[in-house]
Subunit: 758 residues, 2 copies
């Protein structure tokens, strides 16, 4: 019967990987130069998307090198303080998460330009390409988690064959630690990267140099597009990879107490994700649309279908795999009760997504109120946005509290872990939808840079806008599951530490509860500062390029030699002046420059033959080429350097506190961190999302539209919100999870130190 | 021996009240029209200060009416759900807090104009008047707490003579509830009042109408000055009154378990404040200075002297009053241990003040960095300010955690309550210094409005600036003591509920821990919204007055009849045009208008005799008088209306949660609220303070000075920070304390409900 469950896990994992491979092929086989594309456009498309892909891989390569060093050192620490089997699964978890991230990034950087190409045909085609690109990440991640966990379980069982299943599961927890460590790099490092590039591109490009967004003359524009992938694809993927791996490990560790002899029931937690994979595949078929308005509903449909199917399927699985009734630390629970825990998590996840959308979409009142507050200036816009974020955490936190209560009530600590896996039951679909966003965003940027025209841009904008809506759902989902995952790990940590009641009236516990509540705030302050520093480095580089690269500011400028030639050719003074004034303007493409010159030639009668002028212009135009790579490099270096401090806080705090003050003090710290961290994470994400969409709502022509004072005030809010929603907020997910998994893995070390100190 | 301790409490209380009376007389006997004041200036001074006093009293009167209704209803609730003795001490506590607030406000509204008058002589004289005005509040408050608590103890002992001392102390806890309820009105209502008036005055006056700050033409200017008193005098006074009353009650309730038979030791907590009063009197003599630079050091000197003397005196008192060793819930503690608890609180309070000053004064790096961030616009200014606030909570929270640990370690739950009283040991001096601030601020405003000239304004500015520095210390102090007070009440609540260990692994406890952490955020969102609504009402009123009151915008305008008269008198067209252009400008005083007209008469040769013109102008000038009272009324009504929702949250949450889910769930909620609330309160206050002082630093001529783009960006930060530092931040003190004292007082109701439900 054991074989049966594990076989199913491997089968489902293989299916998910095969699905990812098929989607990847579906995307790749679309030619970049399709249909009405000119050769010039095709080479432009290839050039731009090549630069983005190159930048993304450059970031990954450098990040992987840093990660390799970190992993080696941390593995040694684990071996020294815990044991080598935990270190082994740590390395496996980290390695597999890196692989999942790599596959996702490859798919996204291939999918973006193909979405642009497909958008030249129809919305439906572009939608499919973007969705398929996202699906590669979603299914690859789920497949790799399943296969990885299953294999590691087999390996550890073989190595630790003389030990209890609990020992095996405790060693397996290292897998979650590995996944979460990579998430630290991806979320914190990626979050710093994306905002440094974004702020750098906006502040110098849009404000100082007054060139439009996604303009190819902006040296940071590629880094900005790379940032979308780094932050939203690699970051979100690693975050949810960590959640799934950690929740599963937590459930396995806790469950090992109850199901020591029943291996089928023991592996039940792995089955939840295994059941989810084929259901996710079915659900994606429901995400089809032909119209621009149908995009967001199609994405949501897939998520809801997936949830409903999961709810049904898991009833059968739970009732068949788990014993009808079982005992756990003296309490009596039932399989049906465990199913309720699963269901509570699943439903809470969906509801949190809906609430998040309500508070961050400009179709609803809250965001519109924030926009209206911008009418009295940036200050009121900011105050309303902060208040919205704080308020928006009410229902999600109540939902999490109810889920915690339901979980505990029906299956004790095990119930929390199962509720967490329930929330992650639709993770493949959630990741697919989430990957859709940055691919569409990139596709729009590429269309703009390649000068593909209004119609194409309109289609990619529709995709991007739908992606924004569903991104909000994904973010709420990521935070909610992080909270439950952290709590599941917290429970597993207490089980492993033999702490069966945690007295809040113990001085150490209450004192560290206060310190724990402090950590998310200090961490946020650090990540905000990191973004600031990295952005400053980027701003300097962009300014340097605009100042030193000839012809960059205007993209197309006549060389002095060409002008001299024209003058010598007998061009009139008036015409020459006109020519200069034309060249003083900005031209996003060479074509447009030539069109302007042609108009000049018609208006001012020729003193020089047209063809001669054209020839001179054609040969003499300086096409100022920005050094994209330098910007990508700056963002890469700065983000990896600036993540050291916040990263060190997250990793060292639990080890130091647990080592010096013991497991109970650490438990108080974790409780405080989780409670305050969840609220801060939700409010950071939602304030940021609300400011962003308030600005976008105004840009649709409301309250004076683009360029009005109200819009300017809203831009301030948007800029404030950026690091909160894309760096510090999502990074808090990692803070609460990583602290908890470190506690779980290092529990034996704390016990050892405690014995040593007392 | 009992008589001995209580006698001392009454004696010290009487001394404090006498001191307050003497300081009050010292202030009152200073004539408003002193020395070089002209009759016109004197009547102006009297008019303005009269309006402020009238506005302040109007607010108090209306607030008291609302409070009376609230107290009557809430007293009935307490009688119904708890017992009538608790209701009795609730009414006593509330009544005495109201009295303390009234005395403080009277002193402040008398002191402000006399500080202005004294500033015409010297800084030293003005400093003394402002300090003495603040001292009235400080000493009256401490005296009333001591006498009130002492009397209530005697009364309750007589009524409950058959009951145990524990019962008496539990009934006495109602006194703390009364004090804290008034603090709710004073802090939340006062906080909304002061910011509505401030924002209304600034947004319409400074920005729309372009008239300077504190200009008498601004209809909201009196409300703004009233707001300073309402927020900083009544608000801070009631807040700290609540802290002292509550901490004392908490210590008495907990101590009754250990010292049931030793009445001397039982009343030890009251002695701490009683020892503080004479020491505070001595310390004020150290606050003397003759120079502008010496003001802030003089204030700090008083605080440090008070701390040192307290540390010494309390050693003798503790060792003599408490038994050398005693048992408490099975643990063994010593008098020396209790002294350490006291000392930990005292030192932590002082250190928190110092850290707060470091993060909010523009003499140090953090605020200067926030100012520099304004160079790249308002968004970076906001981000840096928020990060500063989060970061600044690190050391204060660590200090609180250490104090908690020390308290618990040396004397269990009793130690926490004593540490809290230790932090409040210097409360009379702290309140004196704190009252100094708004009095100086008001004095500056009055000097400006009365047009007393540069020299006087410079002196009051120096006082105001020092007041700002020490206000930061006071705020940190208020938050720190609120945290410890709340924890002491939390402990007393658990003692009263017979909860001797609070298992965080109980589903209810952990679920409510999350919900508890949420409350400060939701509360902040509500208070921010309240400020927004109240400010909007004020803005509308100010706009209405500027639009409808003739001559208000320019303060002095010729009537049409006067102009016709001049024209008929043969005034030349050119001269008439000139006259009009002069009258189009703003004149802060009638004198300046006449000076301008005189200049006109010299430049343009007369066609009408000078005296005739003068006569016409003199009789025909419309002095547009703003309706100050309407603005005061709007702020008063709006603030009292808008505090209903946040107030209801604070009061109802513990009663509902405790009633429905029991004491342990409520304890989880309180723990979460305290942990998250303290961090949010500190960061709100410090972010706001930093933005304020970053702006002021720029106004001293740094980074481009007043009027530069950097300054404009800093003004945005200042406006964002205002409601955080003056409304939502300080209101969080009330949230955590009031929730805890309600839990303590209603504990029997929860037990009753629990028995009913199970």
């Amino acid at each position: 019967m054991t074989v049966h469950v594990l076989w199913y896990v491997f089968l489902s994992g293989a299916l998910a990987l095969a699905t990812a491979a098929v989607f990847s092929r579906l995307v790749s086989r679309i030619p970049v130069g399709q249909g009405q594309v000119t050769d010039a456009q095709k080479s432009k498309l290839e050039e731009i998307s090549g630069a983005i892909a190159e930048g993304s891989m450059a970031f990954l390569n450098r990040e992987y090198r840093v990660i390799a060093v970190f992993m080696a050192i941390f593995a040694i620490v684990v071996v020294a303080l815990v044991d080598w089997t935990s270190a082994l699964s740590f390395l496996a978890g980290a390695g597999i998460s890196v692989l999942a991230g790599f596959i996702g990034m490859k798919a996204a950087t291939r999918g973006n330009v193909r979405t642009t190409a497909a958008a030249m045909q129809s919305v439906a085609a572009a939608f499919r390409v973007a969705l398929n690109s996202g699906a590669v990440m979603g299914f690859a991640m789920v497949g790799l988690v399943l296969v990885g966990l299953g294999l590691m379980y087999l390996i550890l069982s073989a190595i630790l064959s003389t030990q209890s299943p609990q020992h095996v599961m405790e060693a397996l927890a290292g897998f979650g630690l590995g996944g979460s460590s990579i998430a630290l790099f991806a979320r914190v490092g990626g979050g710093i990267y994306t905002k440094a590039a974004d702020v750098g591109a906006d502040l110098v490009g849009k404000i100082e140099e007054n060139i439009p967004e996604d303009d190819p003359r902006n040296p940071a524009v590629i880094a900005d597009n790379v940032g979308d992938n780094v932050g939203d694809i690699a970051g979100m993927g690693a975050d949810l990879f960590g959640s799934v791996a950690e929740s599963t490990c937590a459930a396995l560790v806790i469950g090992a107490v109850a199901f020591a002899t029943d291996t089928q029931a023991l592996l039940y937690p792995m089955l939840i994700t295994a059941v989810g994979a084929p259901i996710a595949l079915v659900s994606t078929f429901f995400a089809r649309t032909g119209s621009e308005r149908g995009i967001a509903p199609a994405l949501k449909r897939a998520l809801i279908v997936s949830s409903v199917l999961m709810a049904v399927a898991m009833w059968f699985v739970t009732m068949n795999v788990l014993p009808p009734a079982f005992d756990f630390y003296g309490a009596h629970y039932t399989a049906l009760g465990v199913y309720y825990c699963f269901l509570a998590g699943l439903v809470a996840g969906l509801l949190i997504g809906i609430v998040t959308e309500f508070f961050t979409s400009h179709r609803y009142r809250p965001v519109q109120d924030v926009a209206r507050a911008a009418e009295t200036g940036p200050a009121t816009n900011i105050i309303y946005g902060i208040a919205l974020g704080y308020r928006s955490s009410l229902i999600p936190v109540l939902l999490i509290a109810i889920t915690i209560f339901v979980g505990y009530f029906f299956a004790g600590m095990y119930g929390i872990a199962i509720a967490s896996l329930g929330m992650l039951g639709t993770v493949a679909v959630a990741l697919t939808i989430d990957g859709f966003g940055p691919v569409s965003d990139n596709a729009g940027g590429i269309a703009e840079m390649a000068g593909l025209g209004e119609a194409v841009r309109k289609r990619t904008d529709a995709l991007d806008s739908a992606g924004n809506t569903t991104a909000a759902i994904g973010k709420g989902f990521a935070i909610g599951s992080a909270a439950l995952t952290a709590l599941a790990l917290f429970s597993a940590f207490l089980v492993r530490s033999n702490v069966h009641s945690l007295d809040l009236l113990q001085p150490m516990v209450i004192a560290f509860l206060f310190i724990g509540a402090l950590l998310p705030f200090v961490f946020t302050a650090m990540t905000l500062k990191s973004v600031g520093k990295a952005a400053l480095a980027m701003i300097k580089e962009v300014r340097r390029q605009f100042a030193t690269i000839p012809g960059l500011r205007d993209a197309y400028q006549l060389t002095q030699a060409s002008l001299d030639k024209l003058k010598a050719g007998g061009m009139s003074r008036e015409r020459l002046t006109r020519l200069h004034s034309i060249l003083d303007k900005h031209y996003p493409s060479e074509e447009k420059l030539l069109a302007a010159v042609r108009e000049l030639l018609v208006r001012y009668p020729p003193a020089v033959p047209d063809d001669q002028i054209k020839a001179v212009i054609n040969e003499g135009v300086v096409k100022g080429k920005p050094d994209y790579r330098a910007c990508v490099d700056i963002s890469t270096r700065a983000s990896l350097r600036e993540m050291i401090l916040p990263g060190a806080q997250v990793i060292l705090t639990p080890i130091v506190v647990g080592g010096l003050f013991g497991a109970e003090a650490l438990a108080g710290l974790l409780a405080g961190s989780m409670a305050a961290g969840v609220v801060l994470a939700i409010s950071s994400a939602n304030s940021g999302g609300a400011w962003d969409n308030a600005k976008k709502w105004i840009e649709t022509g409301k309250l004076g539209g683009k360029g009005s004072d109200t819009h300017k005030a809203a831009v301030v809010g948007d800029t404030v919100g950026d690091p909160f929603k894309d760096t510090s907020g999502p990074s808090l997910n990692i803070l609460i999870k990583l602290q908890a998994i470190i506690s779980l893995v290092f529990a034996p070390f704390f016990a050892h130190m405690s014995a040593l100190l007392h």
